[in-house]
């Protein structure tokens, strides 16, 4: 028996569970939607979710019920729900598991969300690489449609809720909610300027809610077991429920661990994930996906909830915890992430577009022993000039690996530069063109 009661992973942890409609129903699936459909008003469903304290699992941690509440009340035209299954934040691989192992849990969550916001159509925007996930979802939707759970007059009510799978095609930025909408509209995935927010001007300019897979998957449980139950889990009042943390890197047992929010990183890494993979000590970890600033062993006792991690100078983000052991080259690690951001910048904002290419080039020079001390000044400066000055949060994200490694491991940068000076290799090196 695991130490904590799993909620989202409960079904799939049952031996032999395949995620079929029959099995999902046998495990108590589609009870929540049956319970509310036509019996509880959409506003009351929203109220329950609001009361549960559920916050978005996609990265920003925005309270889900509050987000739903922003939709215009008296708007007559269509509204949409988009499930964000783009899962592209390096270090994150939980949505993939939730989709591939228990698709109906997500579908039921979507039905509940659609019912609450009055959407008759919804789309699952799934990253293009998840070919298997898309197939599994399509099959599940077909099963549900055949059973009368998706489509016209679901469960014999007069409510129509359709769900479609829409595959992305390789662009991290499409996880950003407005870029996702643009992409879903068949355009380049460039984030939109906000306001207006999707709640009023979303998909096709209609009121729209974008929610992460894990967020939605929580809904059946909240409606089955009540807001109070959910709010009692984790680190109330602000970080309620469990989260599926994705542990990667130099641990003994990397993988997805569903635990209540509020346990410490130490517990997650050393108990759940089996500790370090060798006798090398932990040197650094990223607490919430590539966009979250690096933390050090000093932070192992920080609690895994939104506020505590923010207080420690990072963020809980998407729940991707990447662990690095002693001996990992932190400049190299920062460069790896910087290369990711350079590759994925959509190119809309000048600071992000030009800054990411500039930062990558400086970082490569330093790693290739062609750096200068003045580069560190420039790096810091450029990072400050990008953060907070872009359309979307990508700008803030891309600078966090460099800023945080510079903060904690500046000496490693300096050592590399001294090595460069010793070798007298100071000259710029051409970068390869972006593919």
């Amino acid at each position: 028996m695991p130490k904590y009661e799993p909620i989202l992973l409960k079904n799939m942890l049952q031996p032999g569970y395949t995620g079929s409609l029959a099995e999902y129903e046998r495990a108590g699936g589609y009870q929540a939607i049956r319970k509310v459909l036509g019996k509880v008003s959409p506003a009351d469903v929203t109220a329950v979710v609001m009361k549960s304290g559920l916050r978005g699992r996609g990265g920003a941690g925005f309270p889900t019920g509050v987000k739903w509440g922003f939709l215009p009340k008296d708007y007559q035209g269509p509204r949409y729900l988009c499930c964000n299954a783009d899962e592209s934040e390096p270090g994150t691989f939980k949505d993939r598991q939730l989709i591939e192992r228990d698709p109906h849990q997500l579908l039921e969550g979507m039905l509940l969300a659609c019912y609450a916001i009055g959407a008759a159509s919804s789309y699952i925007y799934i990253r293009g690489e998840f070919v298997l996930g898309a197939k599994i979802l399509e099959q599940a939707i077909n099963e549900a449609r055949a059973a009368g759970y998706v489509g016209k007059n679901i469960f014999g009510s007069n409510t129509t809720i359709d769900i479609w799978v829409h595959r992305g095609a390789g662009a991290y930025i499409c996880g950003e909610e407005t870029a996702l909408l643009e992409s879903l509209e068949g355009k380049r995935g460039l984030p939109r300027v906000k306001p207006p927010f999707p709640a009023t001007h979303g998909l096709y300019n209609k009121p729209t809610v974008v929610n992460n897979v894990e967020t939605l998957a929580n809904l059946p449980h909240i409606l089955n077991r009540g807001a109070e139950w959910f709010a009692s889990i984790g680190s109330p009042p602000k970080s309620t429920g469990t989260r599926v943390f994705c542990v990667s890197g130099h641990v003994a047992r990397p993988g997805n661990y569903e635990v209540p929010m509020g346990i410490t990183f130490r517990e997650l890494i050393y108990e759940q994930a089996g500790g370090m993979r060798s006798d090398k000590k932990l040197k650094a970890f990223i607490p919430g996906g590539a966009s979250a600033p690096f933390l050090t062993p000093d932070h192992l006792d920080v609690k895994l909830d939104f506020e505590s991690v923010a207080l420690a100078g990072s963020m809980l983000g998407s729940g991707g915890v990447t662990v690095m052991e002693e001996g990992t080259d932190m400049v190299w690690a920062a460069l790896r992430l910087m290369e990711f951001f350079y590759h994925e910048s959509c190119g809309k904002c000048s600071p992000c577009r030009e800054g990411s290419s500039w930062l990558v080039q400086i970082m490569r020079r330093i790693v290739n022993k062609r750096g200068q001390l003045a580069d560190l000044e420039t790096l810091t400066d450029l990072c400050k000039n990008i953060a907070g000055r872009t359309v979307c949060a990508f700008g803030d994200a891309e600078v966090s690996p460099i800023l945080s490694t510079l903060k904690h491991w500046r000496h490693e940068y300096v050592a590399m530069i001294h090595a460069a000076e010793a070798a007298n290799l100071i000259r710029p090196e051409p970068v390869g063109a972006k593919q």
Partner: protein, 178 residues
């Protein structure tokens, strides 16, 4: 022409969206599935189907890395090199593939069987090093596994080492008879 060969599928795709342009990515995928990459003629046809200009299709097609505007090998090996995979040895995997196939990243073998690409995070960070070959993921790669994958792909076009439905750590196996 896709319109003739895939009419039902195209109609089905179009029926999902209130605005035609939304069908753009699905149709580009369809074109890529048919020809291995997206040809100019396909973009033109899709533009016609969706009432877009060809440049509108083109700008979208070039934004996404999974859409190939040039032919790729029969098996497109895409190795993740983002930090999480790199921590557990993705660079080594790339080195192995390069050596075994005699191609550098971005290149295709002369028999047009394999193309090697280096890609960013594929959301399999806990099971790295990993690669995607066409539609399939191969995770926790080792040199032996890689040899078998390449050999199987050559011989049968697929390999049973592909992974998914994904779950990690793996659940306990089902009790026989339960």
């Amino acid at each position: 022409m896709l319109k003739e060969t895939h009419k039902a599928e195209i109609d089905d795709i179009l029926s999902r969206y209130p605005v035609k342009r939304s069908a753009l990515l699905p149709l580009l995928y369809l074109a890529q599935r048919e020809q291995g990459y997206i040809t100019e003629a396909a973009m033109q046809e899709i533009a016609g189907l969706l009432k877009l200009t060809p440049p509108q299709v083109y700008e979208t097609a070039t934004f996404y890395t999974m859409l190939n505007l040039k032919p790729v090998g029969k098996f497109h090996l895409q190795v993740c090199k983002s930090l999480m995979c790199a921590l557990v040895g993705s660079d080594t995997v790339i080195g192995w593939i390069s050596a075994k196939l005699g191609i550098k990243p971005g290149e295709t073998t002369p028999d047009r069987l394999f193309t090697l690409s280096i890609v960013e995070c594929l959301a399999a960070c806990g099971t790295g090093p990993m690669m995607q070959v066409n539609d399939d993921y191969y995770e926790r790669l080792t040199e032996e596994k890689l040899d078998r994958i390449l050999a199987d792909l050559r011989q049968t076009g697929t390999c049973s080492l592909k992974t998914g439905p994904f779950m990690w750590p793996e659940p306990a196996p089902a009790k026989p008879g339960a």
